[in-house]
Amino acid sequence: MNAYASTDMSNLSLSVRDDLCGYLLTGPESASALSAAGLPLPEAQLSAEEAGEALVARTGSDEYLAFLPKGQNAPACAWCFPRADRILAVQGEGWIELMAQLCQFDFRKMQPGDWLMASVAGVNCWLYREQGGKALLIGFDAGFDHYLSDIFHTLVNELGGKESTKGGAL
């Protein structure tokens, strides 16, 4: 039951990126607020750009999601809202095979720097492949943390990676 060329699954691992704080910026001032904070402005909608530790995605004509390292203060803009995203990071060659059980998307075509918004195990998520192919980030509303983290731990365990310990949601 595996439609993917055999990959080395042993280095598959899961970690949590709780070093990032998410903000939603919307409205005409959002672009200038981001520039003022020295943050990049992704050109196309539904695309993202990294700048140092920060990540900015453009999700609308004038709507952005900004993920800044903890401690960095929020962009100064009236319509800027803190988000409570939980961000998981999947590393290792087997990430495509893992995601193939959770999301109907051809992740073989997802290049570093690509931003995707899709349903993962029934939960609306954003996904971003870090430059240099370091990790796949999966962000979602923290209310689903218990549910989705359990699933990712189970899959990393099953597919042969290390790190995760928690029981599965099977």
């Binding site: 039951m1 988000r83 059980q101 998307f105 509303d141 949601a169």
Partner: protein, 983 residues
């Protein structure tokens, strides 16, 4: 008697690894790689099952899962397909649907009664007199069904996987491998799938002894296994074709749901049986079945064989039998030798008797084949007078093929009967769909390879967006490989058309006589093709018989709809991993640590009530029943809010920020009341109705600035509320931005007389009545976190709904619980909130209202400003409905100290024998010391009645006393609210 042949060049079995299992109480052994059927045959066990209706002895027919003769069950599994299930150590199997044992099945007498059980007999009997039908039904149901199940089995689930490719080739025989290689060489990303554990298909089992094929086979297999652009999936069958080339590939350990751009069907053809008396005896099998047994499992299908043929393939099979050391007593050709090719010449050269223009009139034998009666055959019938007999224990049938075209039909392709080839062939293929090989009439090895290449080139061209003029006939064979009427009548019948369903030729003829003379009605009345193999070996002959009866062509006769699945799919694979999204609030851990009893609200888990750890222990000891303990806890929570202080987690509410120049206009459209007149820092009740005026949701709208509002919605309607707002923005082209803060913001309602006092010590917001009036909304900080405080009235006490970013929620909640101890603060849940809101007469949308309730019926005409507001969703409907109000929501109460049978929600109000309404909410109110409730009562009764009768469980009538609402703090002094609010 040795049944295992010497090692065969292409055999699948591993002779070093023997596997033992039990069947019908006896022990058997086979080799790893054997299927159950091949292992049993290799041990001389020819009898594999009993037929469904007459319990006749059955053996191998197709060896390809195109019939269910070999159907077994064990204590762990049922309906196990012997042909294709690999042997495994320790299996303990028995036959299905036998009464007693396989060897002596007490129900085998039914065959003798077949004269009394014609087609559709069960429609004609057992129903009169009516009261005896259940007796007969029990017997019929016991005889029905195949394998047994155990309801103690646990649920097993196999994970599913999404797959993607440019070109999916289904079937890894000669044409499939050729197609895959051609597409891959052109750079396409190819997946090649085959239902068997090893690739090769008929290139292996049919051409095993053909020298020219050997080189081709070796080359194709090595290139397919090593090609960088080909992913090979053996042991997976394609369950069906679904919209946009979505093809589930089912393997033993789970399903790959493959999405392809192009699909090439190289699924080959299914060999069809000839229909003659006793054509179901063990020892009578399809020629390809014998070839599969010999080449794949090195099993000798018999000692002395007769081969019935209507094509070249029969002679090939005869040669293969000879090659395997099996005596061939005769070859019976339905037509004549000069129609045949070189293989026939080779058989002739070996002095094997060849009877032309002959057919098998009857097979002989009780539990297995012992001989055949051959008669002269004129293409339509067999002359029973001029017959010859041959003793044999093996009879091969090679009379023709039906295309494995189920998925072509499912994807909308058109197929038609080719009178020359006597075979249904593809005529017009839908976009992205291709067919090649014997499925497309290309039968010689060269034709199969060329046709595979052709199909792949067409697919790659379409993949690259080029237009393709597809010529499907390029490599079709000019010689027919199927006979058009391999069907022999016999006065004594037992000439089976659907071997699974025990359907004789006369059953179809009689069905047509009774008026079931079109292909769909014939199928349903006779059940032809409705068995577990879904017509794979019976549909084609069924169409031929009906066409013959009605005098119509095969195309006019048509075929029944080809539905998924190609083979039945295990529910464990279909269900896949269990995903039940569950959403928790930021304060969840605190709830768990403090004796919460959770309830499910959509995907959320919410506190229903709390059994404080200390008290829970105590009351358990006191033996209070679980229900009383629950009721007691809930009432204590209500009293805490009324007398001192309560705190409820309402983070599950929909929370939406609405910003922009047209924000007020948007809210005016979506909600009934005018939102554009709300003053900054104030909130208003927000009632939402649909186009027809039915209440769908309610919440609160608070104004933060001229162009910025904060909107809340009920838990179950939160997503829909956000979606409706964003829809109206697009429909009306409004300049508004939305932020869905439902998960980003937490919310808790601090309610009770002591709430202001507690809060004032923790926030910089001026809580004075003057600065922060009822229904006001103020922003500030609380425990250092940015908060919004809203004075809401849902529970009817002085209170503040605290909304803040999720990060600070736990700390604020813990601080409030700690600092509130002195005021007797207590966490409360949904159940207490229901009672508190009921005491204030507030409705719950979906409980007090139903699918048709409009605001006038819910006593909320104050929320429908028909005169003052130019437009809001549903306005014209409400203008019409205002004058037609047929029922009304009223309050009622029971006498204090009432100890009769309590009415429940949805008990009916009865007025002179007719239904006049129902109770929508009812609960004991500790604040009022009596039971109160809301009821939806027909007009005019609702307006005037001083007493109403409710029919309670058991039918007794209980009287209730209508009374005005709110029941508690009618003038709202405790919260100075005059409008109803909803948290």
């Amino acid at each position: 008697m040795k049944y295992r042949l010497d090692p065969q060049p292409l055999e699948w079995i591993d002779r070093r690894e023997s596997v033992s299992f039990r069947f019908e109480g006896q022990s058997f052994s086979g080799f790893s790689g054997d299927s159950l059927s091949s292992a049993l045959l290799a041990s001389g066990q020819k009898l594999l099952g009993r037929s469904f209706k007459y319990h006749r002895p059955r053996g191998v027919l197709s060896m390809a899962n195109h019939d269910v003769n070999a159907l077994f069950q064990s204590d762990e599994a049922t309906n196990i397909r012997g042909d294709v299930t690999p042997v495994s150590e320790g299996l303990d199997l028995r036959a299905c649907n036998v009464n007693g044992s396989l060897a002596n099945d007490k129900d085998s007498y039914i065959g003798l009664l077949s004269r009394f059980l014609p087609v559709g007999f069960y429609y004609k009997a057992f129903h009169k007199p009516k009261k005896y039908f259940p007796f007969w039904e029990k017997i019929i149901r016991e005889k029905a069904g195949l394998g047994e199940i155990s309801t103690d089995w646990s649920a097993t689930r196999q994970p599913k996987q999404y797959g993607f490719c440019d070109v999916l080739v289904i079937g890894a025989g000669a044409s499939g491998m050729s197609a895959a290689l051609t597409a891959a060489d052109a750079g396409a990303d190819v997946v090649l799938v085959d239902e068997n554990p090893h690739i090769g298909g008929s290139l292996d089992y049919q051409l095993a002894n053909v020298k020219e094929a050997a080189a081709v086979r070796a080359d194709l297999k090595t290139r397919v296994r090593s090609h960088a652009h080909i992913r090979l999936l053996e042991g997976h069958y394609a369950a069906g074709w679904y919209t946009d080339h979505y093809v589930p590939l089912v393997g033993a350990d789970g399903i790959v749901k493959m999405r392809a751009e192009q699909v090439i069907m190289a699924t080959g053809v299914m060999e069809q049986p000839s229909v003659f008396r006793n054509n179901d005896l063990p020892g009578v099998m399809l020629a390809s079945a014998a070839q599969r047994l010999i080449t794949r499992y090195a099993v000798k299908p018999g000692q002395r064989a007769v081969v019935l043929t209507g094509n070249d393939e029969g002679y090939r099979a005869a040669l293969d039998l000879l090659e395997a050391g099996i005596e061939v007593a005769a070859v019976i050709d339905l037509e004549w030798l000069d129609k045949r090719g070189p293989w026939a010449e080779q058989v002739k050269a070996k002095n094997i008797p060849i009877l032309e223009q002959s057919a098998i009139y009857e097979a002989k034998g009780k539990d297995a084949l012992t001989g055949v009666v051959v008669g002269e055959f004129d293409g339509r019938g067999c002359d029973s007078g001029l017959t010859r007999k041959f003793a044999c224990d093996l009879l091969l049938m090679s009379v023709g093929w039906a295309p494995a075209s189920q998925m072509l039909y499912q994807s909308g392709c058109k197929l038609g009967y080719d009178k020359k080839a006597h075979q249904i062939l593809p005529r017009a293929l839908s976009n992205g769909q291709h067919a090649c090989g014997r499925l497309n009439g290309a039968f010689t090895l060269e034709q199969r390879l060329a046709d595979g290449e052709r199909a792949a080139k067409d697919a790659v061209a379409q993949l690259n967006g080029e237009s393709v003029n597809m010529d499907l006939t390029l490599h079709r064979d000019s010689v027919a490989h199927s006979h058009d009427w391999p069907i022999i009548r016999h006065p004594k019948g037992k000439n089976f058309l659907d071997i699974d369903e025990d359907l004789q030729l006369k059953d179809l003829i009689n069905a047509a006589k009774e008026g079931f003379d079109n292909i769909e009605l014939m199928k349903r009345f006779s059940t032809n093709g409705m068995g577990p193999s879904q017509g794979k070996h019976s549909n084609m002959n069924g169409i031929r018989v009906l066409a013959e009866i009605t005098g119509k062509s095969i195309d006019e006769t048509g075929s029944t709809t080809a539905r998924p699945m190609f083979h039945p799919v295990p529910v464990s694979a279909m269900a896949g991993r269990r995903f039940r999204p569950e959403r928790l609030t930021p304060m969840h851990q605190w709830h768990l640590d403090n004796g919460v009893q959770l309830m499910e609200a959509g995907q959320w888990m919410r506190p229903e009530y709390y059994l404080p750890v200390s008290e829970a222990g105590a009351s358990d000891a006191a033996g209070a029943g679980q229900i009383d303990q629950r009721q007691q806890a809930i009432l204590q929570e209500v009293q805490a809010v009324r007398s001192g202080l309560g705190l409820i987690d309402v983070s599950t509410l929909g929370k939406i920020e609405v910003m922009g120049p047209d924000a007020a206009r948007l809210l005016d459209v979506v909600y009934t009341m005018t939102m554009s007149t709300i003053k900054i820092g104030m909130t208003r009740y927000a009632l939402a109705v649909d186009d027809s005026g039915v209440i769908i949701d309610d919440g609160i709208v608070g104004r933060i600035a001229e162009d910025r509002f904060y909107v809340t919605a009920t838990t179950s309607h939160a997503a829909a509320a956000f979606r409706t707002l964003s829809l109206k923005i697009q429909e009306l082209g409004l300049n508004v931005r939305l932020a869905n803060l439902t998960g980003s913001m937490a919310a808790m309602n601090l309610a009770g007389p002591a709430s202001r006092k507690l809060l004032s010590g923790l926030t910089d917001v001026d809580l004075s009545e003057a600065n922060f009036p009822y229904l006001g909304m103020r922003e500030g900080t609380l425990c250092g976190y940015p908060v919004r405080l809203i004075r809401v009235g849902f529970v009817g006490e002085l209170g503040y709904e605290i909304h803040l970013p999720a990060a600070g929620a736990m700390e604020v909640w813990e601080t409030l619980m700690r600092e509130g101890q002195s005021a007797g603060i207590r966490p409360f849940g949904v159940e207490a909130q229901r009672i508190l809101r009921l005491e204030k007469g507030h409705i719950i949308v979906g409980q007090d209202t139903d699918g048709l309730t409009n605001p006038f019926e819910a006593n909320m005409s104050w929320a429908v400003p028909l005169k003052s507001k130019p437009w809001f969703t549903g306005k014209p409907s409400l203008a019409l409905l205002k004058a037609r109000c047929q029922r009304k929501l009223i309050g009622f109460r029971l006498p204090q100290g009432f100890n009769g049978q309590l009415p429940k929600e949805c008990h009916l109000i009865i007025e002179n024998g007719e239904i006049a309404g129902r109770i929508t909410s009812i609960a004991y109110s500790p604040s009022l010391g009596r039971t109160i409730g809301l009821a939806m009562v027909d007009l005019p009764l609702a307006d005037g009645a001083t007493e109403l009768k409710v029919r309670v469980d058991g039918g007794a009538m209980v009287s209730i006393e209508p009374c005005p609402t709110p029941f508690y703090d009618a003038d709202g002094a405790r919260q100075t609210a005059d409008l109803t609010e909803v948290a």
